[in-house]
Symmetry: C2
Subunit: 338 residues, 2 copies
């Protein structure tokens, strides 16, 4: 099943069911007005939503309208929780190597995770708005899940069953603000502005065999200014799967329906700078920091700049037939205006 | 005006207006069903809520019912944002001194803040539930504000006007999980379980002259097991006021209505261990960690244990006539059961 949220209808938008081809969508006010309402009552509403989805895929589109990703907000325009893991430890290891630090051994067994702001996400086609290019604006292409209710202390076998929906994320990072902020010891606040999510959230069954072991086994396609920048496989080199990330978060507290948990920047192990870029036949990157880290390790300094006003970032994922699974995140970097 | 949320009526509970004496409350379904709904539309709804409040204080209680804090959830049972500052830098300095570290000079000019989990707060009279006493369960008595919408880059003069409501908080901390978690560099996740807020949220005008310079100038009264443990003045030694904390958070992103921002553990500068406890005529403490830090600095090791199952924590604030302003947070530490 595929779900989205149109911007009309207030702060939480309007829930729509989207057909598999992403051509049409349909509000379902008699079932749930918003995605959060659907998640709050998922066990009793899922079958009703699935019935609408099945009918739409069978061609019953009389109540449907054309689906326009640009009219979408993020599936949850605001959420009660957004926690982002760093499940691709390769990425974390590169960060450390670039600054000459060792990766602590426990990073391979104990997930790194931060609590993010979730009160004001932006839509998938909304600008990446910043007050200054000097903040070092970077994309981070990731996968995220939306969970149901999870009790404190739930293990991965239990949290797997609580995964309701999957999305793509652009977890924008302000690289030049990060070192000073992390040095204070309390994590990210100013260096993580509003994230954007894919137009469409999908149930895991939409992935067929590509949803396995709590991971999404498909390439994540990233373009910067219409140039292919990355296509790392999200199922590869993911040290902690989503059920493990959820269990980590639930160790000391209950999680409520609608919690969003991210994978961290997708990153595949690659040989070196010259073997890893798309131009050289590699899988490329899901953030600019990563190519800059290869550059730093191999040449002593980064060469690729961060994003500038006017740059665009596109993040998508395709099935085996080349059809878009989630719709595309497509954002332009712009100066903020209130 | 005083507002609260009864537990009945779904995940977000039922908004009630509470009279000044905290004796009666009244649902206001024709104005707003939940506190978040009121906050989403505050500019158009505030006057209507104030009219109900004024009538109740004038003795018009025909539609009212007795107010029972134990029937309350936290005013926002779940919120889109909870970010907690460390505005009482004295507390931060003590933490550092206890482990022999210097306080960086910029801590006096750049607020320390962490992004907390906000999907599942507990009610003011609900248990502090933990799976193990070995986690080092501690209270943290704080003040918090709920904000309206705030644009990116807003300064303190602008954020001051966006402060809608004030509450008390018990920001429970799991002290024995903190060192390893903070060493990972991404802030708190497992070491900060669900917070509880006071039964009642109040508009700043309820404090009269005690709301000044964006601070609450009243003692915060803390009992542990019915014994007075602290009465530090929340207006003293608060290095960053609430408008400054909000401006810090809004530097790189917009804040949405219903964002909760905490002060951090209230802490007054005191001479030493023997001069600072209630028994010795001091103002006492708002968390166990603080007395343990004095003990460590002066005797080489902490002596006061953290909370055990069965212990109770009570946090309240009183006006000049001894009347409770917010109702009391009153929680018992209990083993978690799903």
């Amino acid at each position: 099943m595929k779900l989205a949220t149109l911007k009309r209808g207030g702060r939480d938008g309007t829930l729509v069911v989207v057909n598999r081809a992403l051509s049409h969508c349909q509000p379902v006010p008699s079932i749930a007005a918003t995605l959060q309402q659907a998640l709050d009552n998922w066990p009793s509403l899922e079958a009703k939503l699935q019935a609408v989805y099945a009918a739409m895929n069978d061609g019953v589109l009389s109540a449907a309208e054309p689906f326009n990703p640009a009219a979408c907000h993020s599936p949850l325009p605001r959420a009660y929780q957004w926690a982002d893991g760093s499940a691709y430890v390769n990425h974390v290891e590169l960060v450390r190597r670039a600054r000459g630090a060792e990766l602590p051994a426990e990073f391979w067994t104990d997930p790194l995770m931060y609590q993010g702001g979730s009160d004001a996400f932006v839509g998938p086609c909304d600008p990446i708005a910043a007050r200054s290019e000097d903040w070092g604006i970077d994309l981070e292409a990731e996968i995220a899940v939306i969970s149901g209710d999870i009790p404190m202390g739930a293990g991965p076998e239990q949290t797997l069953g609580a995964i309701r929906l999957l999305m793509l994320v652009n977890d924008v990072s302000l690289r030049n603000l990060i070192p000073a902020e992390l040095a204070k010891g309390f994590g990210f606040v100013q260096s993580k502005p509003a994230s954007a999510f894919s137009p469409v959230a999908i149930t895991p069954d939409e992935l067929g065999d590509d949803w396995q072991d709590g991971k999404v086994h498909r390439p994540l396609t990233v373009h910067i200014n219409d140039k292919l920048f990355g296509q790392a496989n999200a199922g590869q080199d993911m040290t902690f799967n989503f059920p493990q990330l959820l269990a980590h978060l639930a160790k000391t507290r209950e999680l409520s329906a609608g919690s969003i948990i991210g994978s961290g920047t997708v990153s595949n192990k690659q040989g070196n700078l010259h073997g890893s870029s798309i131009a050289n036949g590699g899988v490329g990157y899901c953030c600019l920091a990563e190519v800059r880290m290869y550059e730093t390790i191999e040449t002593g300094a980064p060469q690729t700049p961060y994003l500038k006003f006017g740059d665009t970032v596109t993040i998508a994922m395709y099935d085996h037939h080349g059809h878009s699974l989630f719709g595309a995140i497509s954002q332009r970097v712009e100066p903020y205006s209130a």
